[in-house]
Subunit: 136 residues, 6 copies
């Protein structure tokens, strides 16, 4: 029996979209207001989905209290109330689009799941814009 178990966490962060290899004009053309030099920010919503079989003695694929701790220690504590361009080791040298942040979070989490396996990382930048990465 395969069950998908999800945990949602939130974090508030600032970022600026720009590619340092491009000119200011090109950055402005590609990223528009998302490239404001002084940055802007979001309340991100992160959803982590684990796939696995419930343990018969607990009925859990994974203890969600433990999953919450793993997400907080490996992701939330590093990005919450931070600037994603400047303050986060695992986002160094990438353009912090929602796509790239989700992929970075995947790498942070994939080897930390003690039961089941990491199936998907969903990241909402706003209620209207969001991405999903399944490690493929």
């Amino acid at each position: 029996m395969v069950i998908y178990v999800s945990r949602k966490e939130t974090f508030s962060a600032s970022h600026r979209l720009f590619n340092k290899n491009l000119s200011d004009e090109e950055n402005q053309k590609i990223f528009g207001k998302c490239s404001n030099p002084n940055g802007h920010g979001h309340n991100y919503v992160l959803e982590v989905i684990i796939q696995g079989e419930p343990d018969p003695s607990t009925g859990y694929v994974i203890d969600l209290k433990l999953l919450k701790t793993i997400i907080r220690e490996n992701v939330i504590n590093k990005v919450d109330h931070k600037n994603l361009n400047l303050d986060v080791d695992f986002l160094k040298d990438i353009i912090p689009t929602t796509e790239n942040i989700a992929a970075g979070i995947w790498k942070q989490l994939k080897d930390k799941i003690p039961s089941g396996r990491l199936y998907s990382v969903k990241l909402y930048e706003t209620e209207k814009n969001f991405v999903e990465y399944k490690g493929e």
Copy 2:
């Protein structure tokens, strides 16, 4: 043409997580506050997804009024305003984790769908904790 049709219903229930084959200490260690002897409860949100081809004469994979009735008769009426450990025939002798409740709901519904087929049962214990079961 394959369409996935979803219906959301809610129910309010109490439960207690514990494994009767384990000691009180072990239950406390595994389930923590979820094992409070007098129980606690949730507003569960249930999402049932049916997969099928729309009937050309109705444009429906399944009439959602009918799906709502099927979910209410087979699930909601049995769990809403109930204690999931004590009051529910189809959850007898299982630990009522979200994983196990979702699997129990799947069994309640899988043979009751008159058009299309049951594709998935999603169950939200809270807005932050939820599971999905696809019958595999």
Copy 3:
């Protein structure tokens, strides 16, 4: 690396469910209050999911500002504040169930995506009733 990128838009429209090849009694029996002769309406929520690889120079699978424009020009402007039975060219001669509207929106969008490919169209008629179509 495959990322799924989603954009949510909303529109408000009226419709009436009926099959002109059936009698009034049959329509009433099948569609009930959804067949009210003077119609009724909904705030539809549309979710469009694009699948693709992020461009290394932008970090985008698709620029969401562009995706928003494509959805507005090809879908929202044609259905928002309209009667889905009478006012929409791409829904002519279909029964405007959520299933059929989603399939119609898929056809409107599938050749308009400049990077990545259209993966899924989700359409919420209400918070409780919604469908998904993946073009299969």
Copy 4:
């Protein structure tokens, strides 16, 4: 002790904003796309707030099951899956703006509350547009 007790219900309806005493051009200028001749529609959310003192023997200001029944019989059954311009007796000869619908619902309900008194009617046309009427 004064407590405010709220109950939320929803209905789906179509409408068209126009003033029959004005020309088509004036209606178009005032109401724009809201005046589409074939109408459009919404999932309205209605919130009814009762003010009163809890009865010591029940702990209720008003039994919410009873309030739900009163709202359904006097409002929801008359507006759900209807055309607000054509099908609703208590909205005859008014322009069905959210303001006017809320005031009409107030009149429907104000004498029907068996304990406590009607304090407020809130009506959401969309998540972004809503009104409140307190009978003043």
Copy 5:
């Protein structure tokens, strides 16, 4: 300058509505399924509103991190994952309707606010049923 500052917290609890001075038949007649002998439960949402003037040196009416701590220590830790009939000192000997729980929470909080004053306690039993108490 008077500002109203709100903080939302959640808790999951079970309860049973019944009046021990009434017969089982009377309890069943008044409370219906809410009086299920083995209880049921909810994800409660609590909103606490503080009224006051921002401190010029901080821009805060009250530090929300502090307000969160006050709410957790005085309310959430006492009700979360508990049975409201049996486990909560400040709800002893009351019928745990939403009205009575809100009034009990008011009493827990009213003398604990270090800046500003407690203006309102809102308590959502479900998304559709909620109450507000302002200490009057």
Copy 6:
């Protein structure tokens, strides 16, 4: 007849809480992680409430399309995708707490409402933290 009409808009911005007259240690003690030197950010939700009497010829207290334009021109265009400490003229020299931003938005809007009068500005920094200002 007095009706309260509300319009919700959103904006995404970054900020840093600190008082330039205090030392770094004092700022850190008061504002904690909200004082991160490189800033952080939020998806703010702004709710503007207008109080007035519906115009009999339109049924509107205020045309919400017009209110939306007024809010966008006077507020959203100045704060969306901006740094609230550095980029916003009407927030110069204030600590950008939610309290102070709401008061600043009030001043931006109070003389711009063509029918009815500004009744309240609500500002959500997150779903859990929000303030209301009524100009008193």
